[in-house]
Symmetry: D2
Subunit: 284 residues, 4 copies
Amino acid sequence: MPAPLTLVALLHGPDRPGLVARVAGWIFARGGNILHADQHRDMEREVFFQRVEWAPAHRAAARERRDFEAFAATLGMTARVASSTHRPKGALFVSRADHCFHDLLLRWRAGEFAGDFGCVISNHRDLAAAARHYGLPFHHVPVTPRTKAAAEARQLRILRAAGAEFAVLARYMQVLSPGFLKKFGRPVINIHHSFLPAFAGARPYHQAHERGVKLIGATAHYATAALDDGPIIQQDVARVTHRHSVEDLVRKGRDLEKLVLAQAVRWHLDNRVLVYGRKTVVFD
Amino acid sequence: MPAPLTLVALLHGPDRPGLVARVAGWIFARGGNILHADQHRDMEREVFFQRVEWAPAHRAAARERRDFEAFAATLGMTARVASSTHRPKGALFVSRADHCFHDLLLRWRAGEFAGDFGCVISNHRDLAAAARHYGLPFHHVPVTPRTKAAAEARQLRILRAAGAEFAVLARYMQVLSPGFLKKFGRPVINIHHSFLPAFAGARPYHQAHERGVKLIGATAHYATAALDDGPIIQQDVARVTHRHSVEDLVRKGRDLEKLVLAQAVRWHLDNRVLVYGRKTVVFD
Amino acid sequence: MPAPLTLVALLHGPDRPGLVARVAGWIFARGGNILHADQHRDMEREVFFQRVEWAPAHRAAARERRDFEAFAATLGMTARVASSTHRPKGALFVSRADHCFHDLLLRWRAGEFAGDFGCVISNHRDLAAAARHYGLPFHHVPVTPRTKAAAEARQLRILRAAGAEFAVLARYMQVLSPGFLKKFGRPVINIHHSFLPAFAGARPYHQAHERGVKLIGATAHYATAALDDGPIIQQDVARVTHRHSVEDLVRKGRDLEKLVLAQAVRWHLDNRVLVYGRKTVVFD
Amino acid sequence: MPAPLTLVALLHGPDRPGLVARVAGWIFARGGNILHADQHRDMEREVFFQRVEWAPAHRAAARERRDFEAFAATLGMTARVASSTHRPKGALFVSRADHCFHDLLLRWRAGEFAGDFGCVISNHRDLAAAARHYGLPFHHVPVTPRTKAAAEARQLRILRAAGAEFAVLARYMQVLSPGFLKKFGRPVINIHHSFLPAFAGARPYHQAHERGVKLIGATAHYATAALDDGPIIQQDVARVTHRHSVEDLVRKGRDLEKLVLAQAVRWHLDNRVLVYGRKTVVFD
């Protein structure tokens, strides 16, 4: 039995009375049935946010999407509508560490994500065979300070050829330039191995050990031009003690990174994350 | 500045298309503005649940409440509407342990609850002075197996005289009879000092210590005729090790009990808890 | 650089004054250096427990082990001494579910365990190719009520041929008979997909969903003749709400099961778990 | 039945072979019985740490303390020995917020701490009556930038008159000068309302809300001349979402602050915290 067609709209704009009723009324008037609707108001800035999921009366998803976006515009709202029949394809950037790589691809294979991975890009060859074992093309794109611009140009060509609609940096360990992010123009999810904003930058587990914190963390966020400062999607922490060496922190951190990044990717692909300034609204 | 008047409806009934739109449309047509709306579908049983909070166009809260309840009935839904101008009054049942007692009353005084405590009822005199220190009348109602029926009758008179709309058993340690619960006819929130359904019954920390569990818990639930089996509102756990004696479990448990019971009372008074069979839907 | 030789003793017996000093003195007198020592007293039963790890003066680990065990006996203590130069080999029992299977074998490959897996045994063929991909022999041993005795006899032959010193049931979903456990005579670690003792038995996530609990759990324990009642090694929980279907509970549960089972296996192989009646002392 | 006399030593110094055996041997040779012993090695810096608790053969605690400290010095170790017969007295610094104030004093009254509070010092009068209700003298010491030096001088006189051996800043909201800390010369425990080092400085909940973090935290640490940078004793976090306003963060933060500060005070008074550079070793 195929899953029934549903549409998910993420919309936001200036708050005003009646938005919930108007959106629900528009869907109802066209024979659609709302399955989930969740909204949020930022009381300080008077912004309205909504995620609404509905089963349309017919299967002409493309037209209903366009119509809804046009309707939202009449309310002064920005809307993005996704269809359950479309599974976005993404690219996985990795380096040498393989824990997030295996974790994401095993979850993908287990059907946990409403999207697919289409290729693996890495600055090292270590995971080439493993990528192919998962049935994914592997692109080795070495990066050095001198060749970075050319490498990013090549990465962009790979992303376009693969039709990538999102990218995940699974401990990629390289900073993507603002220019690259702009040219790609699609969401890029990164995992930072600390509880941001604590211990931004390099070697966060060493910093945490040095400072003697009692919890370590991991943060999944959208990559932006501002390094380690993009909108946070998910964070989690684990307890550590003086008994834990830096190596123990790294090991415990791997489990955090896997869980936090997988949750962020799942929410992103379920169209649950709405970016708003430096922050996210996660309709979970 | 007084908080603006808002109404909160909790409704549920058989699912059918258009419920979200109809409810939103009814409110909008009368000039109201929906501030929050959250709904849930039980896909197996095809039941629809909704919590909707709105600012009505005028301040005739009582009429709007009645009208909404009548409207919900036309949709085949059961609705309960609460007004932000009404702060329900409750009774606090205690025994000798004072941790939940102080915790709830300090939070009440700090303004954490959308309701008030009106009296304290206890089978012991230990907390009489403390209750009065918080400005609350204290009723000493001793309970023995022989006098239980008379004691419950007296408790009911106290509840009625106080106009109690809910009761909280803050480690009261006595079982209220099904007859009492039925006659009171209002929600009674209990805290059980274990992660139910594990270790139901007496002395749960001793049971947990005996079994060698690695986590202990606490459970806040509505009291029903089925002991320790009422609808669960909130649960939490804390980690324990072989180093912890039963006394340590009791101490750690006190912190859990305070947090879990306070959260349950807060949600209940915010009209966020909808009871549904043996379960709750908590719109948090 | 090879890790230096260390010995770990787990000992327990009737408490009496001077045990810490005697053990430390014995090691010191033979030129050893204590790296870690952790002890516990069960005050009620007057039992002493200790884990002590030391670097002996020489590399004759086998003799020092025997000598220490004899010495402990003179104190009325039972001791088990493990050497860091010996990596125990274990068997992995699986069925169809592959999440714990991949998780354990990836961690093994990443060097997280002080032991090795030597073979995979399953009542289904699903994971045969994956097991071989990890370089492990795969034994398909179908089990039906009628053939269970013969199947267990075959499993025992496989375990013996592989020199298995422990076994891990990674969602094996079959009950091992008391006779099998006795004949194997080595630790068997099982993962139960609930917070025991809540929801013992079959389909715990369905039970949890039915009961409306707000947390789900997983429990790693040693398998004993008493089903789901063996000594608990590790437990953890995750928060769930009314929004989560049984399928969501299963998915969230998979993450719990992976983490809890991996932690239990790591502690077991680090010689941190001492079984004591129905309980464990975990020197973490 | 009075609790039996026990001594607790916290010692640390350069690591060398045989320290565990020597310490245990010293105690045993004098007829003492070790109840708990826990040690730690900082492998990088080659420092040895130990907490050892023992029941001496006789009740001349003072002499045994002095003797042990002298013995430790012969091993090149610094030792601090506390006797279970001595309950340290502390001062509680508060401002207007009363949640940590009530929480600590209720726990004190419930017997959770191995020490006592002797007085309350505040820059505001708000908690004067409440302090006296707990039977504690209340000292109102207003602090302004101009009068800060005089105020601190007066606080020091109060601390000395009260015989304060430690101080707790329960949301005191004033920075104690390095000179004050030096003159007092005793441990001062502070609660910072964030997960340090994130959001150090003023208004951390506002900072956290602005940044859109998904967890908020609290940190108990020893106050040092370096503001918000003293050795961390305990930290914890709670999950927040976009739905939480700054006020919600403040409310949720209060619960964190209470739990984290109480745990830090309990560990400190149980002689479980050894300060070491910028870090702590907590023998829990």
